[in-house]
Symmetry: D2
Subunit: 371 residues, 4 copies
């Protein structure tokens, strides 16, 4: 069924395979009147680009985005916004054993089983390149959110055994180092760890954290379309993510009610405010006006050069290894993908929540004629 | 917007508040021809019933379900199945300060902020009692899955600092002890820990794990409606859940590719099989035919009898405590809720996946006339 | 699949069979803060009640509605509103040949073919009694619309060969006569025609027209969720409707551009206004602020007492007749069903359209903090 | 909100404006394994191309479609199929008064009112050129249907006052004459009528009929997602359509039950069959296995060269005329658009109906392991 569509009002439809003609997305339901140009989107795409350093693949991808519709005289028109990134290199080449083998940790077996066959060129639709469509759409969602002062920002919080030290945390640092860690010391340590991984033909997992600030209270639709439920879906739908945590996440299971409850206190001006934010800015599935916080755990890149036992289409086991250059770590490139999925979710909820109170509706349509 | 509707083909619409006239659900899209009676559903509801032991509240809830439509001569007809549980006790009583105070860890503030006011009686729609609708529907989903031999089973894997020992794990034990832990030793230890919590007027978090066996390979719709993405949403939408993990979950972030990849091996008959299942039965968002595994982390019950600083509707801070008996732990009652949400998700994906291949379609409609 | 759910934001889920335990609807996504009581809904249900005169069936149906959830202290809370009408008479009786025969013009054959069997008691889910759920929900939609001064009003415009004379049209008259025609002369003539039908054991078709006034311009979402497209779907989904027309409807096919275009003119105050309204208040699928107009054509009640050739479940033809009292005409009872479907569609579009412009969004969430 | 998405499982998302960079569609949910190439789609697009004769505009549009994704080695892969038609001519030109005036019968006013401004170049998104996306997707739906032997075929049944004579009806003739009427005599008469229209700077309405043959019984999901309800929505969403009729359509309102009921009779082999098909192949919203029949009424092209009174953005009335060459009739080009919308609706229902019975589900997934 239609699994490449995301969102209810701010709805996106992504398409494209790794080695096909291109990757793209149609955004339907973006409100009219938002300033938008290709450069706004390109800066997001550039952040997921590989080849920026030795820890990401050396393939040269320029990935220039083109706005095909939905923008007129620099503003969104309210009609569908079609975005395309043409693939540069679609030369047919010998894909060799990949066509016949199911690589461990990849979706080769499941795609074949679901659809009867698969586009095996570079992973086809299950390639990480698919996220280009998410990021292009996410950039537009971020533009919408920025109109209301809402910001969504992600960073790498751990790589393998190396975690950031929260006392040293500096968000500006995150975009300065190649690994996108907001702690220069941890970043350096992580780089040493990755050098080790590369040497041993291995790859590493890691975590990405994401914060969203300045959200109005009231976003989220109980009981199934809760803000946290949809953030969990959005982020879990990114390839390689195996866990999503909101606020204190898995830590809450070991906590006590007296520790985990966010009580109130009074600020310098004597106004009440939450003393803590264990809940990650969401209560009962609805934003409470404080910072929304989530964490995603990414598995290690499954493409490693070591010899592994693979299953063949012939039903037999084969010893084989995967050639080509591969990222030993993907969290650094995934930072902008997590931001995008969070922004798309929040944007959709923002539009949905407008209809929650009769007061809001009267603000839009007016009732002067009723007097 | 419509947040109480879940699913695409097997679609449920839940309703009801804690102290209203009742709780219910309408299941639309359940296939015709499944044997169904009230007792099938009642056994599921009884598993979430409180008052079974001293660790859950002593309120007597009988919660008898009534099938109002959609079943004829013992079989589902394909039309909507309406299920109702009438609330026994709706006496108006003095809700006292709860109407005016926002309890820490509860959704009082966010509901008021979203909707302008709230039904404060017993938590209204944000009460745990809302899950009755989920479980009633989940029981029907389980009946559907059972027709194909698919089983969904959850249990408590930890309470506060006490975790089950996997070497002692015995799923039959889980339904024998009051805490629903598949390890009698851990259950005893956890009971001591909870006695401590009760004495100190506190509550504890915990984890629930869920396994689904006998799923066909091929369920899940990339790239947004992946099976794991929808399981994450389903489970995260349960009140108090703050983290969802699939397979190895958060552990993957510290893992290496060579450890985390599920390679193949040969079984006693020489047939290939997965040597490990770090992926939790899902690759690329699609079931691979092995056991699906997930874990949910629940926060401690926010209702504790200690005095806490609360925010008032008047905008000021108040010291107050929450009266009444409350569960010091909810994971044991939540086991069947997690099962239900997993079953609902899998049932919907089962129906959705039928349309993924032209071959399947020809199997249903036939093409004899084309020859 | 889930075919008993209607709407995107203002979403309803209906359930119930003719001779089951009851009929009901869950309304999810109704905004908070609308005054609502059972009497508001009952007046709508009473308008579709049979037994008011000799032209509708003599069965006594009291059909009292009960609000089960979603209303607190007289106001909608924003949570699901569950409405139930208990069926009075569910005595098991001998349904005789109906269980084994497919009645011409009824859905017996198609239900059996789709689902493998059917609840044949009184037509089951395909009975006209199903519309109770639509009308109960429609009454709530009308309350929402009334808050903005929007009114939806339907009436019978023809019965068999007898049409209203538009020069005599008086909307107040429509609710005064038993046939709900806004022209007392035509109503009298139609009654004579129906007396004839009854005598010859036959039934008659007819048309219902519906007008919606005071709609804001801007409702409708091109290119598929156009206001007229969704009105067409909503009204065509009513059993027995075989045609839906917007504005001039089928007449446009014979018209010229110079006749059909609604040009502008100047009113008494010199302000521009549409000189005509051939378009029925909708252009490009979006309301233009003038009166929305639609017409539905209903087929004659298929239940007639004449002997007809029916198909049996045994695959053979049978001569048989349908016993019991049946309406010789249904348009008069269907008036409130058409109103309800139109109101549900407009309410949903009203909520959807709020998100069409960034300006609207800023009105709700404010941007003071950005200055 | 997202109004450019259509369908539930076979879901399309169209984009593009008349004078933008191109027009396109993403088809998500198309089953894997259907042979598909660009030529399959091009033949459909060519049928809506103008410039084929003097009755359609002389603009040269080549409109070559490109498949961007979702097809591998000549077969659909089950992943999104992205189709693009690049616009040839996007030279910026002087749109003159059109930017400031609301043309009668066009969506200029309503788009401006809904979105705050509009892309006025050639009608922007409200241009008839938008239907290219529908037709490209419809061609793929037709390929899917053809795998099961289902055919969807439309033709022009009337132009202004000239209707086809059903005794002369010949479907093969429909694609031979420029007006696409299945009656050469009527086509000639209609051409004379149109010559008259052109001379008087006017335009004409008309009707398109569509038949779908070889549908299995059982398609359609009561009570809101009925097959006829969704056909009505699909066809009413085409610009200029003001009425949709199923089977006997508006005629049923004047009919008697004894005439309108489709009784059964016995064929030459003694097998039962429907004696008539007043219902248009649909009963209770579900296909009955006989031919599905619908009719759409199109209003006259609103673009006429006569001087008309238009409303200005300045709030005043203006006398103006619309320059450029315009079709005096659109039904002939719309034939393939009606076919496309019908095919998309039927394809989606075909996939949805697979899940209606437990028997079907067992056919796909098997239950051998349960024995």
């Amino acid at each position: 069924m239609a699994g490449s569509v995301f969102g209810t009002i701010f709805k996106i439809s992504t398409w494209g395979e790794s080695h096909g003609k291109g990757i793209g997305v149609v955004i339907d339901g973006c409100p009219a009147g938002i300033p938008l140009c290709e450069e706004d989107i390109q800066v997001y795409l550039d952040r997921r680009k590989p080849g920026q350093n030795k820890y990401t693949t050396a393939r040269s991808e320029s990935d220039a985005v083109e706005i095909m519709s939905g923008v007129f005289e620099g503003l969104t028109t309210g009609t569908p916004i079609s975005l395309i990134v043409h693939n540069k290199d679609q030369r047919s080449k010998d894909y060799g054993p990949i066509a016949e083998l199911y690589r461990p940790g990849h979706a080769d077996f499941t795609y074949d089983h679901k659809y009867g066959f698969r586009d095996y060129r570079g992973g086809g639709r299950s390639s990480g390149r698919e996220t280009l469509g998410r990021v292009a759409a996410g950039a537009v969602a971020c533009k919408l959110l920025a109109e209301l002062g809402i910001e969504v920002k992600a960073y790498v919080s751990s790589i393998g055994p190396v975690s950031i030290d929260r006392s040293r945390m500096d968000l500006d640092e995150a975009e300065k180092n190649a690994l996108r860690m907001p702690d220069a010391v941890a970043a350096e340590e992580a780089q040493k760890y990755l050098d080790q991984c590369i040497k041993s033909l291995d790859s590493s997992g890691g975590t990405v954290e994401c914060i969203a600030t300045n959200l109005p209270a009231g976003l989220g639709e109980p009981v199934f379309e809760k803000l946290d439920a949809n953030l969990a879906k959005a982020v879990m739908s990114i390839g390689a993510v195996k866990a999503v945590e909101i606020g204190d996440g898995t830590e809450v299971a070991k906590s006590l009610g007296s520790q985990n409850n966010d009580c109130y206190t009074t600020d310098a001006q004597g106004k009440p405010k939450k003393a803590t934010n264990h809940s990650g800015g969401i209560l009962g599935g609805i934003s409470d006006g404080t910072t929304v916080f989530l964490r995603a755990s990414f598995k290690p890149t499954p493409s490693i050069a070591q010899t592994q036992t693979m299953l063949g289409r012939d039903g037999a086991c084969h010893e084989s290894s995967i050639h080509g250059r591969h990222d030993p770590i993907i969290v650094s490139r995934a930072v902008v993908v997590v931001e995008s999925m969070a922004a798309l979710t929040i944007a959709d909820h923002l539009l949905l929540s407008m209809a929650s109170r009769m007061e809001h509706i009267k603000k839009i349509y007016g009732t002067d004629h009723l007097k």
